[in-house]
């Protein structure tokens, strides 16, 4: 686990620092108004310029002997990563005034909220769909479930999001307003929204949670209304894999002897399926949680752009435009930590839940 994160840091460092000039790496740390001597001393502190480099213009021209070797740069970079020194953001509008760290973690709760709600929706839809599909093998519900899961697998996320917007914002209108809000994490202009939800105290940064903690029900409602469409987009496009796994496991479990035994005891089919078979069928589904998390984090980049969601995904694209590589690196590393920790948790959970597995 530590190895994967270390190797990931080397990979991302090499991609962004090894292939781009060191001036790009320096940009988040310097203020354009500084004198050249000031810039040079910062370049030395960040570890990209050598102490023997005579002037900043030599450094900017990538003169021989001015650029530190890549492995030294990596050590300096790693130190900055570990202490959280990511320099100032280069995102337009706020560039140079806020640190990359605070911009990232100011936006991160929104992405986390979106992904968690989407993951919950995915499980809520995919598991019943998979069960019904297995118990009604080759009948209408099975075909329906197959269409939903394969369709979700094949729909471009941005397009599905756009179609939901088209229907629920442009065509279903009440009193001149769309049924649901078109953008943002707080819907104030739509038929179902409170137009003036008041304010909340930011305890966690996650709007749904903060609204509850602040006991502001209109704000909570407006946040719920705003998250419906983006979370549905993510959930529908991610549930294919889970549905298929629940279905095939369920089919395999239902064929086992203990199920025949349970049936021959005269138990109701519902009891057999939901209390005897489900427990064993759903276990392997937990193993795809890691994959689902990877998919949701990636998918939220696209969905956030369609719905102008104020999370890290939509900001990552702006960061890519202005070459704010620190923002991208931070995103990749945070995503890596989340995915690695999720996989570890899944492994442990699996061993706890399944007594047949012992490490």
């Amino acid at each position: 686990m530590v190895f994967v994160l270390f190797a990931l840091s080397v990979l991302i460092f090499y991609l962004t620092r090894g292939l781009l000039p060191p001036t790009t790496a320096l940009a988040p740390y310097i203020n354009p108004r500084l004198t050249d001597a000031g810039k040079l001393s910062i370049a030395r502190a960040v570890g990209v310029a050598t102490s023997s480099c005579p002037s900043f213009s030599d450094f900017a021209a990538l003169q021989n002997g001015c650029i530190t070797p890549l492995w030294t740069q990596y050590l300096y970079w790693l130190k900055n990563v570990l202490v959280g020194n990511w320099g100032y953001t280069l995102l337009p509008g706020i560039s140079g005034t806020e640190s990359t760290w605070s911009v990232f973690f100011g936006r991160f709760p929104y992405t986390a909220e979106l992904d968690i709600v989407a993951a919950a929706l995915t499980f809520l839809i995919a598991v019943p769909l998979g069960i019904i599909s297995a118990t009604h093998n080759n009948k209408a519900p099975d075909h329906l479930s197959r269409i939903v899961s394969l369709g979700g697998y094949s729909i471009p996320q941005f397009w599905f999001g756009a179609m939901l917007l088209l229907v629920f914002v442009l065509y279903v209108r009440i009193g001149g307003l769309g049924l649901l809000p078109a953008s943002g994490a707080l819907g104030t202009t739509c038929a179902l929204c409170f137009s003036n939800p008041g304010t909340i105290t930011a305890y966690t940064g996650v709007p749904l949670l903060d609204a509850l903690l602040s006991r502001n029900i209109p704000y909570f409602w407006d946040s719920v209304v705003a998250i419906i469409l983006p979370a549905m987009t993510l959930a529908i496009t991610s549930l294919g894999l889970l549905t298929r796994i629940v279905r095939s496991n369920m089919m395999e479990v239902l064929r086992q002897d203990y199920i025949t035994m349970a049936r021959s005891k005269g138990l109701k089919e519902r009891t057999v399926v939901y209390s005897h078979a489900l427990r064993n069928a759903i276990l392997p589904a937990i193993t795809v949680t890691g994959l689902l998390v990877t998919y949701l984090i990636g998918g939220s980049v696209i969905v956030e752009i369609v719905f102008s969601w104020p999370g890290v995904g939509s900001a990552a694209l702006v960061a890519a435009d202005v070459l704010d590589i620190n923002f991208l690196e931070l995103f990749v590393l945070v995503a890596g930590v989340i995915i690695v920790v999720t996989n570890l948790t899944v492994d442990i959970l699996y061993a706890v839940l399944d007594p047949r597995i012992r490490y």
Binding site: Y153, S154, V306, I339
Partner: protein
Amino acid sequence: MSHEMKQPEKNPAKSRRQHSDLRFALHLLRQNPIVMAGLVISVATVVLALLSNLLVNGAYWHQQNLTLRLCWNNPAFGWPVTNLFNCGGQVYPLGTDAYGRSLLQMIILAIPIDLQIALEVVASAVVIGVVFGSLAAYMGGLIDEVILRITDIFLAVPWILLAIVLIVVLGRSLTTLTLAIIITWWPWYVRLMRSQVIGEKEKLYVERLKMMGAGWPRILFLHVIPNSIYPILVQSTLDIGSVILTVSALTFIGLTPNPLLPELGNLSNQGIEYFFTAPWLIIFPGLTILIISLGFNLLGDGIRDIFDPRLRR
């Protein structure tokens, strides 16, 4: 399929059984309307891609005509939005895009571009996956460990983030786009191939070949790989659809070499900008992606069900 034809003289009984298996599978394929639909869509996509330059002049995508931009005059359907510009006399079946080009022509020109990227990505990933996956499984030990750890690293990043970083670093072109997707795609094939070969290498015929004195490259490349490549090929059919989704997602979010390029995600990108004034701009390119990707997914899914007896209906 080819490996069954290759060595019929060695084990005629086995070959005959496999042959009848294949015939039964083809019979199931014909029986299943969903798979047939997938087959029809996939074949139609490939044919359309091959014919696209005959149907539409490839030079049209450079031609901007701003007086015709965002117009819709197909009499079959009217949008409840006001058109920005007038189409003039000619009828554009799917309207025009933000540069005044016929959207239908642009979609026809876009299909071969997307399909080519998808085929390149899948073919590269299959080659990398087959070589490294089978090496890892067959050699075991340190080689296996190293290859597996490398795939771990790539699987610990959401593909889209890695692709964004790669495209930012390497520059925006169709080549880097393809490369970025290959780099995010290959680990899956290595994993899949490895799991196949691990089961295959324990079989008796491998033992027999070893006793006959065959070297490992011969056993691996001429015997083990041909016998374990089926699931990889099925997965690659499924993945053509997914790669097209990936390419279009990346160009949709703006990682495009040229905003004028007729590529399905690129065309949709204009659509989100003019979402409320010209909804056809996102509806039709996106629908095309959906149909193509659904076609390949139905086909791959059906083939997988047919060849996996546990899932056979």
